[in-house]
Amino acid sequence: MSISLINQSFNKAKEENRPALLTYTVAGDYTKKKSLEILKSISKYADICELGFPHNTPIADGGQIQTSAYRAIKNGIKINDVFSIVSKFKKIKKDKPIILMGYYNMIYQYNDEKFISKCKKSNVDGLIIVDLPYPENKNFAFKCKKKGINFIQLISPTTSKKRLKKIVKDSHDMIYYISMLSTTGGKLKVSPKNILKKYLEIKKLNKFKNVVIGFGITEKTINSLNKADGLVVGSRICSEISKSLKNRQNVVTNVTNVVKRLKNKII
């Protein structure tokens, strides 16, 4: 079996003795065209790009990502536009993994099978569905696997040991560890030591799974967690888009600089 692009990216980062950098931006933020430009530009520094398909009732997102999502929806983003952004991106950067992230209702309305097929066709590498937890997602995850798409399981500080074992066992190449009890964009309220403790618990169950840490990661905190396989930055990027728009500055340049700075902190 060939190694997934996601695993290849982790391997490459490991060879360079650093965590992989994962970025999160919202498709269509602040326009369809600009979100593709942002994606292309930040992918110079990011190892894996998460792309959100925005929902107008995001129950687990904080203010920054909500603002990005509402902005994208207001500018007319549709689910098929999200796929076309991925396709266009992949034509230029075929080796850069793309993970789509969002809420289940949008997939459900699109139809599970149709959505997964469309992911395959657009060269999506992985999927994160915020409100489709384990074990309810088993069937869906299985369908993804059959099409060669990584279904990424989430683990949080509240996940029990028993549950943790089962989730890790059924997970694909990558696992997402939520650093703290928070929506996205919250201030990191747990010490890096404690976060890494839980992280190691997951790694101990299966060291071959790549575990990334997300929530509360900024320029300030990223270095303290650099022992992880990967680190995800989302709200920090979304708020940079908002700020640049407000100050009428070049969004693509500013966001790229943020990602570049983040990368520099972990090499």
Binding site: H55, N56, T57, P58, I59, A60, D61, G62, Q66, Y70, I73, K78, I79, Y103, Y104, N105, M106, I107, Y108, Q109, Y110, V130, D131, L132, P133, Y134, E136, L154, I155, S156, P157, T158, T159, S160, R163, I178, L181, S182, T183, G186
Partner: protein, 408 residues
């Protein structure tokens, strides 16, 4: 899809929490899995615990004021001709609406779980007001999430919440109504679930919240059943139970004891908010044929667009202004046990005028939707038919809207 007999509807779900195989469930972020599981275990334990039931009944009687009265609306019946119109005056309950049942039970559960903080959402402000009352009564710190638009239009209830020492957190995102309040409340719970208990204000949300709320409001129909037998020595042959439906907590509470009866004997009629006559917007997912969707952790019929974005809703009644509805009402709809229709803002206002003209009763705009349907169907029905309306809220909170729309 079939209803079972002799099992409460709230318990007729599968192991993943779905009613009829597709309504409900628990579509929640991973972080909430554990707190929801803890709550589920605790609730199942408590509802079997005699002492807890005694405690519930004690507070229902001595704090809420059970039973609420069941009366005939003689003047209205005579005016309309046809069926007899009766009302269960649930608005007599402490605080002025049925929301007190759920709030009291959640406060008791919160205490039993050793948590000191309780948070909740509110639309009309009743769920918030009652939760703030119960929190005060049981010594809990309380935060209420409420859409900024609702804070403006339901001021009396906001004043009450503040008086009870609760903090009102205004929600400015989206349409600034109930849907956004519930989202923000869930976000808060995601961040604070280690020391905070969440109360969902209706029979919506993840499976366990539907169950707790339905278990609490079912007090209404337990009382009604006894009252019917007291008045008629039997359950009469032709009854129509008419109730407004937003999330559906009062309707479920009003119907739960009667679901096992034949439809021919006891018809269940749910009335949703049709919104302004001239507007395309509404809050009537059941009666206007909305598609199944996932909102706030549950699969249910939901006002949404083709992409799955949740639609804005519009209704004069903040308590019904919600794009989705309880999964158990979806189940009752698809099994055809209940019939759902809607009343417009104008219908509700006209019903308010008529009811208050003929009766010494002041129903809020939510039950006025139910009265509108009762008024519509009564003239065509026989004298032996009983239409019973759940008058589940008091109009004091609506005084500003009524003043503006009816100049009174």
């Amino acid at each position: 899809m079939k209803l079972k007999k002799n099992i409460p509807l709230i318990d007729q779900h599968d192991k993943y929490g779905f009613w009829g195989g597709k309504f409900g469930g628990s579509f929640i972020p991973e972080t909430l899995k554990k707190p929801v599981e803890d709550l589920t275990i605790q609730f199942e334990k408590l509802r079997k615990d005699k002492k807890f039931i005694e405690k519930r009944d004690f507070y229902f009687k001595n704090y809420i004021g059970a039973p609420t009265s069941f009366i005939k609306l003689e003047n209205l019946s005579n005016h309309l001709g046809g069926a007899q119109i009766w009302a269960k005056i649930v608005s007599e309950a402490n605080g002025g609406a049925h929301k007190i049942y759920n709030a009291t039970v959640h406060a008791l559960i919160c205490k039993a779980m050793g948590k000191k903080f309780i948070v909740g959402d509110t639309g009309a402000g009743y769920a918030g007001k009652m939760l703030s009352m119960a929190a005060k009564k049981f010594g809990l710190k309380c935060k209420i999430f409420m859409g900024a638009k609702d804070i403006q239009r339901q001021k009396p209830n906001c004043d009450a919440m503040r008086k009870n020492g609760a903090e009102i957190v205004p929600v400015y995102s989206g349409s600034q109504t109930l849907v956004d309040a519930v989202s923000e409340c869930m976000r808060y719970w995601v961040s604070n679930c280690d020391n905070t208990h969440m109360c969902v204000g209706s029979t919506v949300g993840p499976n366990i919240f539907v169950k707790i709320c339905g278990w609490s409001t079912s007090q209404i129909s337990r009382e009604l059943k006894i009252q019917l037998i007291e008045k008629f020595n039997t359950i009469p042959k032709k009854i129509k139970l008419v109730n407004c439906v937003g999330g559906g907590s009062s309707a479920y509470g009003f119907w739960s004891e009667f679901i096992d009866f034949e439809k021919k004997q006891i018809e269940l009629i749910g009335v949703e908010a049709g919104g302004p006559k001239k507007s395309k917007l509404h809050a009537a997912p059941l009666s206007k044929g909305a598609k199944l969707g996932i909102l706030h952790g549950a699969a249910a019929y939901c006002c949404q667009n083709n992409e799955g974005q949740i639609n804005e809703t519009e209704s004069i009644s903040a308590g019904l202004d919600y794009p989705s509805v309880s999964p158990i009402h979806c189940f009752l709809k698809d099994t055809k046990r209940a019939r759902y229709t809607y009343a417009t803002d104008e219908d509700a206002l006209n019903a308010y005028k008529m009811v208050t003209n003929f009766e010494n009763l002041n129903p809020s705009l939510e039950p006025c939707h139910a009265f509108a349907e009762a008024i519509k169907i009564a003239p065509e029905l026989s004298k032996e038919t009983l239409i019973i309306v759940n008058s589940c809220g008091d109009a004091q909170k609506d005084r500003d809207i009524l003043k503006k729309r009816l100049r009174r």
